[in-house]
C-alpha cells in the first residue's frame, strides 16, 4: 500500500473522530473532495486520504472548532477566501518568508502579532525581491512602504511590482498592465514581479502549510 495514504478506518482511529464528523466536514468543504481517494481493496472500494495533509487538517479543525462555527472554519481553510490570519510564530516556522524579512518589516511597522493575508502578501513580495539579490534591506523598506501606501488602491486590478535601479538609486513602482515597459539604458529593472502570480504561489504555500 502507498505509504503516503491512510485508510478511512485508520484515520478515524488515529484522530479519534467519528463518521458523522468526517462526513459533516466533507459537506462543509473543510476537507477538499480530491483528498478522498478511492482504491480497490479486498473488501471492495475503500477511501484513502493523503496521510500527512489529512491528519494535520483534522487536528487543525479540532483545534479551531471550539472557537469558530463550521462556516467560519470553511472560510479559514478555503484558499479562495483571503481573510486568513496567521500567528507570527506559525508564519515563520513554516518558512513562508525568511525571518529576516519579518524582522525588517517589524522595524518599520512595529511588532506583528497576527499576520493578515494582506500583510503576508507584502512580506512575500518583499522577501521575493530580496531573494533576487538586486535589492538591499534598506531599499526593501521602500518596497514595503510603497505596497502599504498604494497597493489597496489597486483593488482587484492586475498589477506588477517593479523596482528600477539607476546610478545606485532605486525607484519602486506599482503599475497596472506592465506588458510593455521600457527603460533608458542606464536604468536596470532590478525586480519585476507579477503580483497575481506571486499571490497564487503564496496561497499555495499557505494551503500546503495547512492554513
Amino acid at each position: 500500500m502507498d505509504e503516503g495514504l491512510i485508510s478511512k478506518k485508520d484515520l478515524l482511529e488515529q484522530t479519534d473522530i467519528t463518521y458523522g464528523q468526517l462526513y459533516r466536514w466533507k459537506r462543509k468543504k473543510l476537507i477538499p473532495d480530491d483528498w478522498f481517494i478511492r482504491k480497490s481493496t479486498f473488501t471492495g472500494q475503500e477511501t484513502f486520504f493523503p496521510k500527512e495533509k489529512m491528519i494535520e487538517r483534522i487536528n487543525r479543525i479540532k483545534e479551531l472548532k471550539d472557537h469558530l462555527s463550521l462556516d467560519e472554519l470553511a472560510n479559514a481553510l478555503s484558499p479562495k477566501k483571503k481573510d486568513i490570519k496567521i500567528s507570527k510564530k506559525d508564519f515563520i516556522e513554516r518558512n513562508i518568508v525568511s525571518s529576516n524579512a519579518v524582522t525588517i518589516f517589524e522595524e518599520q511597522f512595529g511588532e506583528l502579532d497576527t499576520i493578515t493575508f494582506q500583510t503576508s502578501l507584502y512580506l512575500y513580495l518583499f522577501d521575493k525581491s530580496l531573494e533576487t539579490g538586486e535589492v538591499g534591506w534598506e531599499e526593501g523598506k521602500q518596497i514595503i512602504q510603497t505596497l502599504h501606501d498604494h497597493f489597496p488602491k489597486l483593488e482587484e486590478k492586475r498589477a506588477s511590482l517593479v523596482v528600477l535601479r539607476k546610478m545606485g538609486v532605486v525607484t519602486v513602482l506599482l503599475v497596472t498592465n506592465p506588458d510593455d515597459l521600457y527603460v533608458d539604458e542606464k536604468t536596470k529593472v532590478a525586480v519585476l514581479l507579477d503580483i497575481e502570480t506571486e499571490l497564487d504561489k503564496l496561497l499555495n504555500s499557505l494551503v500546503t502549510g495547512g492554513f
Binding site: 478511512k8 478506518k9 482511529e13 467519528t18 463518521y19 458523522g20 468526517l22 462526513y23 459533516r24 466533507k26 459537506r27 473488501t43 471492495g44 472500494q45
Partner: protein
C-alpha cells in the same frame, strides 16, 4: 398569451413562450416556456412549464409539471407534482410530494420526500427524511438520514451520523398506489455512520459505531466499534469489531 400585471410580475396563461428576466412573482398557469434565466421572489407553476435556463428564487411551488434545463436555486422548494431538473439544485428546505428527477447534485439543509426521487449525483444535506422510493447514483451525505421504504430504492453510498432505514408499517395510501410495492428494500454499496439501524437493506459494507441489523437485511461485511445487533431474520456474511 402573456400579460404583465404589475411591474415586475410575470404571469403566463394559456400556451405561451417568453424570455427570462428578473421579476417579483412568476406564475405559469398553462403551458409555458421561458427561454433564459429567471430570477424572482416567488415562482409558481400550476401547469406545465419548461425553463430553458437557471431559476433563482426564494419560494418555489410546483403543482404541475416543470422542466428546468439549468441550475435551480431556491430557499424553499415545494414540489407537489412532477419535475425534472437538469442542473444542480440548491436550497434550504425542500419538500417533494410527487415525482422528481435531478440530473446533477443536490445540496441543502433539509429535504423531505413523500414520493419518488431520482438523483444522478450526490445529495448533501443536514437532514434527509425519505418516505417512498428513491435512486441516488452518488453519495447521500447527511447528519440525519431517516428512510422509510415504500418501494425499491437504491443508493451508492450513505454517510452520516445517524442513519435509519425502516420498511413502512403504516402505508400512506396515495404513495402505495403510486409506487410498485413489489419489493420494499434498499440496495447500497456502503453505509457508514455513527449509529446505523437497518431493515430490509442489501448492502456490501456497513461501518459504524453502533450497528443494528434488522429483519430482511443481507450484509456482506460489517465493521463496528462498540455495538452490533443482528436480527435472526438477517444474513450477515462477515463482521469485525475494531
Amino acid at each position: 398569451m402573456m400579460t404583465r400585471e404589475t411591474k415586475g410580475d410575470l404571469v403566463l396563461s394559456g400556451n405561451s413562450e417568453t424570455r427570462g428576466g428578473s421579476f417579483i412573482k412568476v406564475a405559469i398557469n398553462g403551458n409555458g416556456t421561458i427561454n433564459g434565466d429567471v430570477e424572482c421572489k416567488d415562482f409558481e407553476c400550476n401547469g406545465s412549464a419548461k425553463i430553458d435556463g437557471d431559476i433563482t428564487s426564494q419560494y418555489t411551488v410546483i403543482n404541475g409539471s416543470t422542466n428546468i434545463q439549468g441550475n435551480f436555486s431556491s430557499d424553499e422548494i415545494n414540489i407537489h407534482g412532477d419535475s425534472t431538473i437538469e442542473g444542480n439544485t440548491l436550497f434550504r428546505s425542500m419538500e417533494i410530494k410527487g415525482h422528481t428527477r435531478l440530473k446533477q447534485f443536490l445540496k441543502g439543509d433539509d429535504i423531505f420526500l413523500e414520493g419518488i426521487l431520482k438523483i444522478a449525483g450526490d445529495c448533501e444535506v443536514e437532514k434527509a427524511e425519505f418516505n417512498g422510493a428513491f435512486t441516488i447514483d452518488g453519495l447521500l451525505n447527511a447528519d440525519q438520514v431517516a428512510i422509510t421504504l415504500h418501494g425499491k430504492s437504491s443508493v451508492k453510498e450513505i454517510g452520516g451520523e445517524m442513519i435509519t432505514v425502516k420498511r413502512n408499517r403504516y402505508p400512506i395510501l396515495h404513495l402505495d398506489k403510486l409506487i410498485k410495492t413489489l419489493s420494499k428494500e434498499l440496495h447500497a454499496n456502503l453505509i457508514e455512520g455513527d449509529v446505523v439501524k437497518l431493515e430490509y437493506t442489501k448492502a456490501k459494507v456497513v461501518r459504524g459505531n453502533t450497528v443494528e441489523i434488522g429483519p430482511g437485511c443481507e450484509v456482506e461485511y460489517i465493521e463496528y466499534s462498540s455495538n452490533l445487533q443482528v436480527s435472526e431474520k438477517a444474513v450477515v456474511d462477515k463482521y469485525k469489531k475494531l
